[in-house]
Symmetry: C2
Subunit: 424 residues, 2 copies
């Protein structure tokens, strides 16, 4: 009880800080998500230490073992952050129409594939030029690959442009990107020091990932279209919302079982349920859960940042180099896939794919624990993840800002026509 009370206090501080900072940034005309991230940095264990540190009651629970108590605290916060990002991607899925996604399908595949290949090649090339071993070069390259859709999706949502063609391409490409990134992660995670893997395993993982996505998206949409009228007959209070939440948790879990990120399952759950959303007002129904849980993801991500890292000259030099490579490679690779839509749209798509966030951190921590990358490279990847995450919200806001001020169009008008971002 004392242990949960101590974590409860953390949750209160995290929630309050996220909301206050988010409101402050919104007032300044910036996306609330930046405020939530920076609030996390400020109150996290590396700065003020107001949240995220195991307190004495928790250490007592783990028989005085402070390190284990801290690991348990991290686990709790990680799970809460995971629930937050699951709800976020569920929401993004709910706000995505499959027909829209299929309409941008070929371009999304192009953006996704080029956006993965370019950073991987650039990272591997840079590390090889610096004389690193192949296994190390592969790990660093892998850490540069995966786009963190959470940040981009949140900013696009805050800007109210989720239905624009560029946004749909970014979200579609993010699905492709995640599948490719998970294949690469699964591959490098099987790397021995000599850098060998079993091609059969890779093929199996890839087939599972692609099969899961197609199966859920296509079959789920059909099932929902057919059975949605039966939902209201269930002897369950708020049956549609409850079933939606169960599907969200279930597909997120299933995704992890086929080697994908949980958020991909949550996104697919939202996508499938988007077919029934008008009937049951699912977005309105789930919004309070969004307001409660999503900020935890961003503020908790913030708490993991050690501001002192930014002061170490050697790390910051390497980090800036890697960050520039990571940004340019993703911007040019993913952007190249969007060139057919014009330069501004291509820049927007490329920028939207830039944030690396948590996936890069996962790859780097895996490489560190395997002894395949040095601690300094880990710090470099951490800084890269943070910088790519922090620069994108203002860049996206700027790129999607109307060029000349005119009265805003009605929502229907904005979503109609070519479906691009309004060139006001």
């Amino acid at each position: 009880m004392a242990a949960t009370a101590s974590i409860l206090a953390d949750l209160f501080i995290l929630f309050l800080a996220a909301k206050v900072a988010g409101a402050a940034f919104a007032r300044l005309g910036q996306p609330a998500v930046i405020g939530e991230l920076l609030a996390g940095v400020l109150i996290g264990p590396h700065a003020l230490g107001l949240a995220g540190t195991a307190d004495p009651a928790l250490v007592a629970l783990f028989h005085g073992d402070a390190a284990t108590a801290q690991e348990a605290t991290n686990l709790v916060l990680e799970l809460l952050a995971e629930l937050g990002v699951i709800v976020l991607l569920f929401f993004v899925g709910l706000e995505t129409r499959l027909s829209d996604l299929l309409g941008v399908g070929r371009r999304a595949v192009l953006v996704g594939v080029l956006g993965v290949l370019a950073p991987f090649a650039a990272g591997y090339g840079l590390m090889t030029l610096r004389g690193e071993a192949p296994a190390t070069a592969l790990f660093v390259a892998a850490a540069l690959v995966a786009t963190s859709t959470g940040i981009t999706a949140r900013v696009l949502r805050d800007l109210g442009v989720l239905h624009a063609a560029e946004s749909r391409i970014i979200l579609g490409a993010a699905v492709i990107d995640d599948i490719l990134a998970m294949i690469i992660l699964a591959t490098v995670s099987q790397l021995g020091p000599r850098g060998t893997v079993d091609p059969l395993d890779i093929g199996l993982i890839a087939a599972q990932a692609v099969g899961f996505t197609l199966f859920v998206a296509l079959l789920g949409v059909r099932a929902i279209s057919r059975f949605q009228t039966h939902l209201e007959r269930l002897p369950l209070a708020n049956a549609p919302l409850v079933l939606a939440l169960a599907l969200m948790l279930g597909l997120a879990t299933l995704a992890t079982r086929v080697g994908l990120a949980a958020i991909i399952g949550a996104f697919l759950a939202g996508l499938v349920l988007a077919q029934a959303k008008e009937r049951y007002a699912l977005e309105d129904a789930a919004l309070p859960i969004y307001e409660f849980l999503v900020p935890f993801f961003f503020v908790i991500m913030g708490t993991r940042v050690d501001p002192a890292l930014f002061l170490d000259a050697r790390i910051i030099g390497d980090a800036l180099l890697i960050t520039v490579v990571a940004v340019l490679a993703k911007l040019l690779g993913a952007g190249a896939g969007g060139l057919g839509l014009g330069l501004r749209s291509a820049a927007l798509i490329g920028t939207g794919m830039v944030p690396r966030g948590e996936v890069g951190l996962i790859v780097a921590s895996l490489g560190l624990s395997r002894g395949l990358i040095a601690a300094e490279f880990f710090s470099v990847v951490v800084v890269m993840s943070i910088l790519t995450t922090l620069i994108v919200p203002p860049a996206l806001t700027w790129l999607s800002r109307p060029r000349v001020r005119r009265p805003a169009p009605a929502r229907g008008e904005r979503m109609g026509g070519a479906g691009r971002l309004p060139e006001l």
Copy 2:
């Protein structure tokens, strides 16, 4: 990532099982909460083992230490259950009008005090008669004291009778009960083997507890009445809901700091916000969070039950004796406080105060860890907590069932007049 994925799978199974069992029980005309509890027993680590057991990925996170991984799993689930019961009591507070509670104030105090004294005296007497040491007798007596408002509040809510006079007396008495129980818990937790405590500490804890409740309830209501019109001017999406959630987490945290249970703070937050609920439709706004989180409390409580305990003849004999004492003492003690309202109302109030739930478990586990009670007594208290929890929902349902079937009165009518349960 693998570790959070394993817990995510548990959450999915817990949520699904709770909702399916809840719906099944609702269909049978029973409170959904019994289904949720029994679903937890069924899928918990002591039976099917589908949820609540640390999996290999989690054990790996804790460096192969299975016991620690299990403790961490328990911590995560306990926190989730705590969030669930916090949201539940917040909701109950939101549905309680302070004027109603103050209207039943004197009777609630009488019910609360008698409902604490009777089981404490009965438990202490029984243990002393059996030749136990004073410290042991005090601990067992303390474990019999605290009513678990969660179960009763949920059943009253499911039955739609939260506004009846009996319900308001139960909820008011539960606040008194919790304050007294926390004072007793704080007292016995300072017991040495010889059973001595510092009266000054007890006085301090008691003063804090009473002061906190009165301060928050009275000042909070005034502050909300005065400032509620300013809420909508905040630059924050869904400001009223967000502030309500922040107040819920904040007062829950604050309650733990003054030695009270977190749920008392959450109840007070709801009570205070009830002043502004019509204006902002806070109940509707928070309902999805209720649907998502509250079932976790009951299903997770269920997972803690080892059905095998019910098969050990010696334990079950002792447990039945203690349970009968616990039930009768609370029923007669709390019921005596409600006698002025007639026998049926007194029985209803007494029954509503019977469930012991988690607080008894906390006291017992504390006594166990201090070596003041034996492992067998711990099991006895566990069985007592479960039985008192399981028998109350059907008993309350039966007691508040209309005697003769007539058309149900309109809501306003039911709440008007004497405000008692309808004697249809």
